[in-house]
Symmetry: C2
Subunit: 247 residues, 2 copies
């Protein structure tokens, strides 16, 4: 509520509603950006007030089944198109708002066979206008990719901090820049990430086990004192890492 009032005071939003049905009444475009676990309930509650011809979309980090379930809830003449702007950070709240947040970033749109082509075009144009490059893919593929490149890394960051604390909480005060950068995402909203992980749990469980296997490989090389193979593992990682972004 405080967040919403601040946003209004600063002229970022024109008005707000705290009742979902009232918020959606008469809207041409509705964008869900609450934690993903609340989407279905919110959609059920507000669907009766969706205007005929309205487009409903979202900014959630999980697509998969959720997209089909959202589609099912839409009344006749209302189209749902799933979206996921890849511009998140560990911050939340209006104090972290900034113009240009979506500039030069990717936005994944996940149409299905049932998606209305014109609604799809509108959502795609919306993100393009905000400066994102739009990529469309199936909801299932989205969830597999982002389990690997986003959800697993978040779990690893949360887990790493809890591991250090289990070993000795006083050690954390000796952290250098490496750990600080690496665990920035462990400051992310627990509620948000609880929902994301639960909704993408099949992919995540599988990927945690691949991660564990890779950690076991390194641990095994240390146990049998094989510096050469260890270096090869690090070299492989470094080469791959250098393809994904500037330092």
């Amino acid at each position: 509520m405080e967040n919403l009032e601040k946003a209004k005071d600063r002229g970022i939003i024109d008005s707000f509603e705290t009742d979902p049905a009232s918020a959606c009444k008469g809207s041409d475009l509705v964008l869900f950006s609450t934690p993903v676990g609340s989407f279905l309930d919110l959609a059920e509650t507000s669907s009766r007030s969706f205007k005929k011809g309205a487009i409903v979309t979202d900014a959630g980090s999980v697509k998969g089944r959720l997209v089909y379930e959202m589609e099912k809830i839409m009344p006749a003449g209302v189209n749902f198109i799933g979206g996921h702007p890849i511009s998140g950070s560990d911050r939340s709240g209006i104090g972290s708002a900034r113009a240009g947040l979506f500039k030069n970033s990717k936005c994944i749109i996940t149409p299905t066979e049932g998606s209305d082509p014109s609604a799809l075009r509108t959502i795609s144009d919306l993100w393009t206008a905000l400066g994102s490059s739009v990529i469309t893919m199936e909801p299932e593929k989205h969830d597999r990719i982002y389990a690997a490149v986003s959800h697993l890394p978040h779990l690893a960051a949360f887990s790493l901090i809890n591991t250090i604390s289990e070993i000795d909480p006083s050690f954390l005060s000796f952290s250098g820049k490496g750990l600080i950068d690496m665990t920035r995402i462990a400051s992310s909203s627990p509620e948000l990430w609880r929902d994301i992980c639960m909704l993408n749990k099949e992919n995540l469980i599988e990927m945690i086990s691949v991660f564990r296997k890779n950690l076991d490989t390194l641990s095994g090389l240390l146990m049998k004192s094989d510096p050469h193979s260890l270096e090869m593992e690090f070299k492989k990682a470094r080469k791959l890492r250098q393809t994904i972004g500037q330092n």
Copy 2:
């Protein structure tokens, strides 16, 4: 060699030697900053040219046994004091040199019972003059702390990249800022990290197993669909993370 010539051209160093014994000849202070695995050989090779009264120190990320072994190699009248400035990055080479690298950072000094108090003071003053805050501790304690807050995170970053690549290398191109920040340290020098990990392997093997156990906890909560406990794990991590540094 190219690095050394560039450094000389830019006036960062006055002169260089590529033969360790010649480099150390007549020096008041010798600082080792090659990969830690090469310290003992280099010290053996150059010890005959250490000047009486010289102080030998290092900037390596592992201390432990290495400190005692270095002490043993020192000729009479030459003092070794182990040091570890906590100012590393994934970069290497003279192109990454910058004034003020050590400002406002920690430097760990690891004296032993045999350390000469005057040599210890000199090394401590050196890092203080560069802007670091000096902390002294036993070599063994240093290795335990940095296995947890630095060496394990590096292994996790290398491993995470290899995991994603094993799942599907094409997924890496969908990385967002979270993964890029988290895996920056996977761009670190493989040779350097091979040596660090090998020399601190007992601590690391133990800590990888604690990390695995923590990952298993999260995986188990996903398997039994326990969003509440998952959120509690994330909350615990977030609270701890917020104690170690600004975003």
